[in-house]
Symmetry: C2
Subunit: 568 residues, 2 copies
Amino acid sequence: MATTSFKEKIKGIGGNPSYEVKARVLRGHLEAKIPQGLQLPLALLEDPPLDVTHIPETCGLLTAQELAITELDATAVCQKIAADELTAVEAVTAFGKRAAIAHQLTGCLTDFFLDEGIEQARQLDEYFKKEGKVIGPLHGLPISVKVSVSSPNMQSSILNPRRPQAHYRIKGTVGFAGFLVNVETSTEDCDMTSILRSLGAVFYVKTNQPQSIMHLESKSCYSRVLNPHNTDLTAGGSSGGESALVAMKGSCMGIGTDGGGSIRCPSAHCGIYGIRPSSRTTPSHGTLWYQHGQDGVFPSTGPMCRSARDMRLFLEAVLGANPSHRDPDALPIPLKVPDLTQKKLRVGIMMHDGVVMPHPPTIRALKFLKEKLEASSEVEVVNYTPYDHDRGYSIIRELYYEDGGATVRHILEESGEDMHPLTEWVISPPYVKNHDAAQIWKLRDLRDTYRREYSDHWWSQNVDVVVCPPFQGTASPHDTTRYWSYTAIWNLLDYPGAVFPTGLVADTAIDLYLESPSPMSAADEYNISLYDAAIFKGAPVSLQTVSRKFNDGLVLAAQDLIERILQS
Amino acid sequence: MATTSFKEKIKGIGGNPSYEVKARVLRGHLEAKIPQGLQLPLALLEDPPLDVTHIPETCGLLTAQELAITELDATAVCQKIAADELTAVEAVTAFGKRAAIAHQLTGCLTDFFLDEGIEQARQLDEYFKKEGKVIGPLHGLPISVKVSVSSPNMQSSILNPRRPQAHYRIKGTVGFAGFLVNVETSTEDCDMTSILRSLGAVFYVKTNQPQSIMHLESKSCYSRVLNPHNTDLTAGGSSGGESALVAMKGSCMGIGTDGGGSIRCPSAHCGIYGIRPSSRTTPSHGTLWYQHGQDGVFPSTGPMCRSARDMRLFLEAVLGANPSHRDPDALPIPLKVPDLTQKKLRVGIMMHDGVVMPHPPTIRALKFLKEKLEASSEVEVVNYTPYDHDRGYSIIRELYYEDGGATVRHILEESGEDMHPLTEWVISPPYVKNHDAAQIWKLRDLRDTYRREYSDHWWSQNVDVVVCPPFQGTASPHDTTRYWSYTAIWNLLDYPGAVFPTGLVADTAIDLYLESPSPMSAADEYNISLYDAAIFKGAPVSLQTVSRKFNDGLVLAAQDLIERILQS
């Protein structure tokens, strides 16, 4: 197998000459923002090791104190700042510097504005000094945010911004909705960044996502995001910039969006934590997107982080700010984290979805966890049978592009951006087709019928939560991810799900097919063909905890318990 | 003006000969179910008075005890049964007999199955005797239910039932979704009737609704529903059968649905109480409908009754049964009824919507209430300015029929049912047009944008609730209702709203235009042209209390307070 150079591997999406001119300017602006003092040696970047996670510690660009700060999770950062043991400026400086290093090794950023972050942190420190208290529960916490942001007006002259539309607007900075053509200068914060800002969060970077924001990988006009544990593998997507950055410890709290797995897949692939809350409970108004009004399934916004407790910190803080006050589409459903010492938690184990068998490392991890749980007196373990996941997956795929992908094709043509093969795949028949009004109603009725049947099925299984694979294996080789159902099925159902690292990694020696597998489906055949133990070396193995719609608090509580049993 | 005969006035929708045969059978079945002993004298039915509300008391068909029982509101019925002062059989018998009388005078029913109701009540009485307690909070309460129900299989042979689809299924009975062609024999309860049944409710009648379920009047293949206070006027729609029945005291608790005003308009027109809860909080799964999957706006289901406390009784009981357990589309948002003694309620008064000026009786009632409120120390009164209601109304009209009305036309053609002029109106351009996928997204984006702007506007007005007209006047003459915005605007926004009688009625002597009104719009010109004080004689004048989405409990609390001040 010919080895691809690192430079080639990390390269962004190409296009026609006019596109290339614009893309070069975009990338140049970003490169220019990485301070010289944080640039890694060219020799290292020519041929870095496959596992780049240790480079921040060994490269000599960070002080011991900075390295220590970046080891903290978000809860610890907030606690230390509130206890006057750490300043907001120290925190954002440490994470910001490490983010710059992470970016050079993984392509995780689309903007870097540490100076603004430090200024914001300085004001928070002043407030703390003057008032003797924090401004909010996230006082001084540096938070990385999905999708390109930069200084006001910088790129508007070159990039023909269209109607403002896409993820996580931050006032005065630039964002994009998955395509070069829709880069925009935001004139205001979206609800999420506005709420986080009011809670005391500090912004310093925005992170990469794929073309169309609809791949479970992350290659955009900026760059391709590489998995820090093995750069031959994807960091996942669409919040792949976040997962790579958090895994590199260039952030302890990132914000992603998830419409088909875009928080959970990248979190799983990079060995971090991430939760997709029930949709419309967390703020989503004002994020950037290119199909406004497409309301057949709602994406959800949530945290990506390095500890289970950080998911709770985030959700409690954000929901505590009452997003439905400003957003008429947000649901004021309280987060109730139950006390699991009162009643034995019933955990369903779903080994596979009946369509695609996960690769050996994932099956090994699931069996390992199952044994641990079975040995515990704190939970009751049952086998969970999936309910027609193939049908559900085909419904959600059809829902994503009810116009048959016409909007996407038009957007790409407008700027001359090459269509990535995974974009072509996601907007192509048989699932994706053009619909008239009656066909859209019919499709949405199929969705509702499936949801109802699934709800009945769930109750028949007598479980509180289900533990299942978050993906049909560990992180994939680049440009190969074509099956989303391990996460997307829960999007269709709108069941909250959290992913967590098991602590296991793919092992070339033991993760082998014991016998030649018999495919359950065409998708399974494809998945089997992707497997070669050597390729996945070092990839973290993660699992997913799911519960019924709006039982987000139960997912958090179950997650804590499962993790405690796993580590016992 | 030629006087229409009563028989002509109450007649249902016609059609081609094949339709007429089927409709005759339907109507015949219903007529045959009214026991002979409850039939009013033919002479009376030849030419009843315009106001028929007193006939149940004077006709001699009800005993003094039955008349006394039917004076009770639902809360009192439940209390008396629980206190062993009344049996469930006595309750349903009294309301059932009065319902049969009401039907002959108003055309309010589509099915009558008192025998089944009595049998259900008998079992509940037995349970109570044996267990010494009620089975649930609605133990023994007779509840009337919107839309045709009858005995199993009765009509399936003649009516070519299509795929089951429409309001309030009750197991073993027949229902219809607004057209003769979709009469069906239901094989199971919908969620609402199933939950009500489990709470102890007793079913005995189903009530009429208009063709298409999309008029604010109620003329169907069965009959036209007449306003009991003045049969030259409509009882409102689409839950017009319920409003006429409850106003006639043939029911103390009816269930309606509201997608554009269908609970509030008929309640207002007949001088009863009704609340449209925030959508998807109350059960709606399994109701009959003909455009499944049409999810641009959601109808809401709620009570129609004779006291403000009954609205609370219903919502607390139904929400307490946790509808989201079985319905994945239901929202588990708790009903919080605030204590208004702690903080002064800010009441916004909206005299008109800036598009259509209500008729003199409504303006008189609103001014009367405003003066009362201003004189009270318990509330703070402010003027509420509407926000671009014309835009909102045009959006929701477009959302109702995204297929340009093709489904409705097809359904009518299938059975040869005549298209009612109000059906033609509601599916016609300019608002209604066919949409492709991108146009549907665009429309829904317009909806979301309007909702967001309205939310900002609401906060800028500094109000807790708004009191406004529920309609551009009192009940209208038949076949004239073409402006829904006083209710439909709140459907688009999904703001809960309750209507309540002011105790005032339209008065020929004083409800006059003092000067010739200048129309604000074409719709206003039409509304002015409809007004002649003599026509509206005796019509109840009602008002509407509205609050922000999910503030259903605040609407209930405000309603109580406003009513107390009104009656002081």
